[in-house]
Amino acid sequence: MKHAKIASNFIRIPERVDWHNEALYYVRLKRDFAVKRNEDFEKLREIASQIKDYVLDNIRIYIEKFYKNAQKNGFIVHFAKNAQQHNEIIYQILKTKNINTIVKSKSMLTEECGLNSYLEEKGIEIIDTDLGERIIQLRKEPPSHIVLPAIHLKRKEVAETFSKYLSSDPDNSNPEYLTSVARKHLRKKFLEAQASITGVNFAIAETGGFVVCTNEGNADLGTSLTPVHIASMGVEKLIPEFKDLFIFLRLLAPSATGQAITSYTTIYQKPMLNQELHIIIVDNHRSEKLKSPRYKNSLKCIRCGACLNTCPVYRRSGGHSYRYTIPGPIGSILGPLFNKSEYYDLPFASTLCGSCSNVCPVKVNIHEQLLYLRSDLHKYKDYAPQFLFSLAYKFLSNSIYYNLFIKFIKFLYKIPLIKFFLKQHNRKLPELPKKTFREYYKENFHV
């Protein structure tokens, strides 16, 4: 179980786990507060879910509609079957224009496609401009959360990183100071950049436009300064009509951070004067997922991160233990669907408590899909020793064996070495009740 193994590194520092857990739960509480403020929230979730289902059922119609309208708007539209094609398209655009400095705002799709390393190998400087993304880019780490990419780091670690790469004061870990250092550093990069890359939050088939949401304004700064803007989107970002955007905007920010709306919501309808605007529509296994009745629902995800913030496993195991671009409950579905052999263990990194499904703004049945995946993947890899399951079956299906097993467990509790071993791994055995349920029942109910 790779997840458990990597998570064991994360939980080695209990203070970090506590902080991570509490910080994310606080975001979850902010979400709850925002949801309670809106009496229509449940209705909005239902509408959004139905719209997404409808678009996914008719995706060909909406790809075509968006393609035609986007071209009318003056956008240059490209199609990429996979990550390789996506990266090549971007490289070709840059190469043709002799561009070697780019600023990029947060885009999980470009992470999924491994764009940064691809372009860096070609000698192109690509700067992540979201503060959290820039911190982890300097540290050469992947994001650990889709909305809060550096949530696993403490301010002192950020101060060390900035001191090393941006020559800031290593002893000053005040977030305001660190942000001002990043602002100065990134402002220069924005002004030097020859192209900007953004993700897409929503692509509107009816108008051929698209929407990008940020709090920092980094996407807007990049796209308003550079003569080339490249927007990468997965097909699942499509929504049918402009008015549907209102439904999704009412759900995205409250679910993500508890805000009523992000600081900047930008509707791109045409390129600026003297600007080229390219849109890359990416498949990268999405068409396969759409053909699966069990899992196509996962493509409804709007990347708000609410399921991560609420997940007791994610909060205590950290995002890097998932390894996939998108961690947490939704990533535990998308990861194995993307690459079974690499991410087969992720559906097991869940308590199946269902909290993820309850907070999902588009009603993805996350915990149910995780359960389906467990059954679909169990033969794929020996994710847990099969003999343990056979043994459990033996003991649980026979009362004599079961009673013997209980006695054996009680005996194990008395061995100090076991307690010592568990303590070394930050584990503690729960107290055993004095009597088993069977004994208690017999005594109290005179059976």
Binding site: I51, I61, E88, I89, P175, T262, S263
Partner: protein, 205 residues
């Protein structure tokens, strides 16, 4: 690289189902309630809020703001002549209008930008600016402080009630802005002024 035909063939055939129809109950609010709700969300987002009785009070109100310092570089949209002409001369402000910039990076010299907006939404405390109303979009993000003017007749309770206003957004694109640029990427501590304006003031008249 895929062409459109190859790309589309990978996806399942459409079910041609009916698009779900929906309607949200309209939220009717008085102007006073709209302004109260707007200011609540705007200030929650870190923005500053000023309500004026008359448009003519704008220049005087601006001159009293602490962000206006002597020799500040101030951008004012060309059509806002009543502001340009009525700001106190003793402040020695350097006024820039739309014709003063030739490249999108030039507004980096700005300390303050004053821009007229086209709509406000009380349900989330956001202000809408159509992209074609500003010569360089970068002005909104390069300036240190952004001041957005909004006529209260353009303040709506919700997205749907501003339907006629969205036509230009659909045609030219636009921004919905809610407060200044911000981040909480370092230990979840909220910091204002991540990349764009360090302050954002809404003046409703």
């Amino acid at each position: 690289m895929s062409n459109y035909e190859d790309f589309i063939m990978s996806f399942p055939l459409p079910k041609n189902s009916e698009k779900p129809q929906y309607e949200l109950d309209p939220k009717k609010k008085s102007k006073k309630e709209l302004i109260e709700e707007f200011s609540k969300f705007w200030e929650l987002a870190g923005g500053k809020f000023i309500l004026l009785k008359q448009k003519a009070m704008i220049p005087h109100t601006l001159s009293k703001l602490s962000i206006f310092k002597e020799n500040s570089n101030v951008y004012i949209q060309s059509h806002l002549k009543f502001i340009i002409h009525n700001l106190p001369k003793q402040m020695k402000l350097k006024i820039y209008t739309d014709s003063d910039f030739y490249y999108p990076d030039e507004p980096q010299i700005l300390q303050i930008a004053i821009v007229e907006s086209q709509l406000g939404l009380s349900e989330n405390g956001s202000i809408g600016i159509e992209m074609n109303t500003i010569s360089y979009r970068s002005i909104l993000f390069l300036t240190e402080h952004l001041i957005l003017l909004l006529n209260k007749k353009n303040l709506y309770s919700q997205f749907e009630s501003a339907l006629s206003r969205w036509k230009n957004f659909i045609k030219n694109g636009g921004y919905l802005i809610s407060g200044p640029s911000k981040t909480a990427d370092i230990e979840q501590s909220l910091v204002i002024g991540a990349h764009g304006p360090k302050s954002c003031t809404a003046i409703i008249y």
